[in-house]
């Protein structure tokens, strides 16, 4: 399990930001060749990001590159240049089943040519159209490289012709669909960014809302958002304490030969034990506990 609570977008043609990407505290960074780069700088950003991945130390942070769509003029060149320096993953905008199949094949060819382990470069489809949302299952099944799905609500609501709001009621269905399908296929569900970087209260509420329906992480568009998102997605002290008590009670029950037992007057069964184990594992990955 890899923690992917935050994925921080960094503009791909900004050297000053790229070289600080690894020290800002995000679990993943997304070096962006798409929307953050103007059309006349696509070539420059591609070379800069390639060099950044080859030369900079990202301090153990997962490095993801958002390429341009392979339906346009830049996507194929992006993959051909970027995959050769082995980013952890490629983020595919407006991903379709066909796009993912084609990118999977391209990555396999490049991995063979470069002597990388086959399948080592992962893929994250970006769901940001109505058709993309409805076909998400097929898109996930199109490649074993898929490790997460990222929901892009700005483009999705534009495609739907509806207004994007601070409360996010309009993406309730999209979040549920992404969270449920990702859970079914055991991959991460990454929530859309919260656009107002000055509205911290709104960010926290939005992140809690996403977490409550099963999203496992969230994109950030400013380093200031990272800690607040981590606070929401990391297990709380109370959750960790309860999880420890559940597992301790389980040990006692096992010794006494009981299959089902109770804690604080409530029945504890397999799903609760599993949740407790997941919480402690996440807490360990987040550095909140040692064992």
């Amino acid at each position: 399990m890899k923690l992917r609570r935050t994925m921080l977008f960094m503009p791909g043609n900004n050297p000053g930001m790229l070289q600080n990407a690894g020290i800002l505290g995000a679990d993943s960074v997304i070096l962006d060749l798409e929307d953050a780069v103007s059309l006349d700088e696509k070539d420059a950003a591609r070379v800069l990001v390639r060099n950044a991945i080859s030369n900079l130390n990202f301090s153990g942070c997962e490095v993801v590159v958002r390429i341009n769509s392979i339906k346009g003029d830049y996507g194929y060149d992006d993959i051909n240049v970027i995959a050769r320096v082995k980013p952890d993953a490629i983020l595919v905008p407006k991903a379709t089943e066909e796009d993912i199949e084609e990118i999977d094949e391209m990555l396999s060819i490049i991995e063979r040519e470069e002597g990388f382990k086959l399948g080592s470069i992962k893929i994250i489809p970006l769901v940001e159209t109505a058709i993309g949302l409805e076909n998400i299952r097929e898109t996930i099944l199109a490649s074993k490289r898929n490790i997460a799905v990222l929901l892009g609500a700005e483009d999705l609501t534009a495609d739907m012709g509806i207004k994007r709001t601070r409360e996010g009621e309009e993406i309730f269905y999209a979040r549920n669909r992404v969270a449920s399908i990702c859970k079914a296929y055991k991959i991460d569900a990454i929530d859309t960014p919260f656009a107002d970087v000055n509205d911290i209260e709104g960010l926290i509420e939005d992140t809690k809302r996403a977490k409550s329906i099963g999203m496992t992480g969230k994109t950030a568009i400013n380093p200031r958002q990272i800690d607040y998102i981590h606070d929401v997605f990391s297990p709380s002290r109370e959750e960790i304490e309860y999880a420890r008590r559940v597992l301790a009670a389980k040990e006692v029950a096992l010794k006494e030969g009981k299959g089902v037992f109770s804690l604080d007057g409530k029945m504890v069964d397999a799903p609760i034990i599993q949740r407790a184990e997941t919480i402690l594992h996440k807490a360990k990955l987040a550095g909140l506990i040692r064992e």
């Binding site: 000053g16 420059a44 800069l48």
Partner: protein
């Protein structure tokens, strides 16, 4: 690689370097301005020369205005400017 037209890459923002290249008949000519010329002038020039060599460029006039770029940025901006000039 043969430079056939003038081209530029990079910017004057902090941590970046602005590169302009022009066709030249007499080998490699480099004009460098940098906010850290005293400390890193030699190194920046060396990185530019190495990048031109890797790209097999033998004749070019290159003007660089550096704002504290690291090596990876200098190499990227020189490469982009050269590819745009072909």
């Amino acid at each position: 690689m043969k430079i056939t037209n003038p081209a530029k890459a990079g910017s004057l923002e902090s941590s970046d370097i602005f590169i302009m290249v022009f066709p030249n008949e007499d080998g490699i000519e480099i004009e460098l301005e940098s906010i850290v010329i005293k400390q890193f002038g030699k190194r920046i020039r060396q990185v530019i020369e190495e990048t031109l060599k890797e790209l097999e460029v033998e004749n070019v006039k290159l003007i660089a205005k550096d704002k504290g770029a690291l090596d990876y940025t200098i190499k990227a901006r020189v490469e982009t400017a050269i590819r745009r000039a072909m």
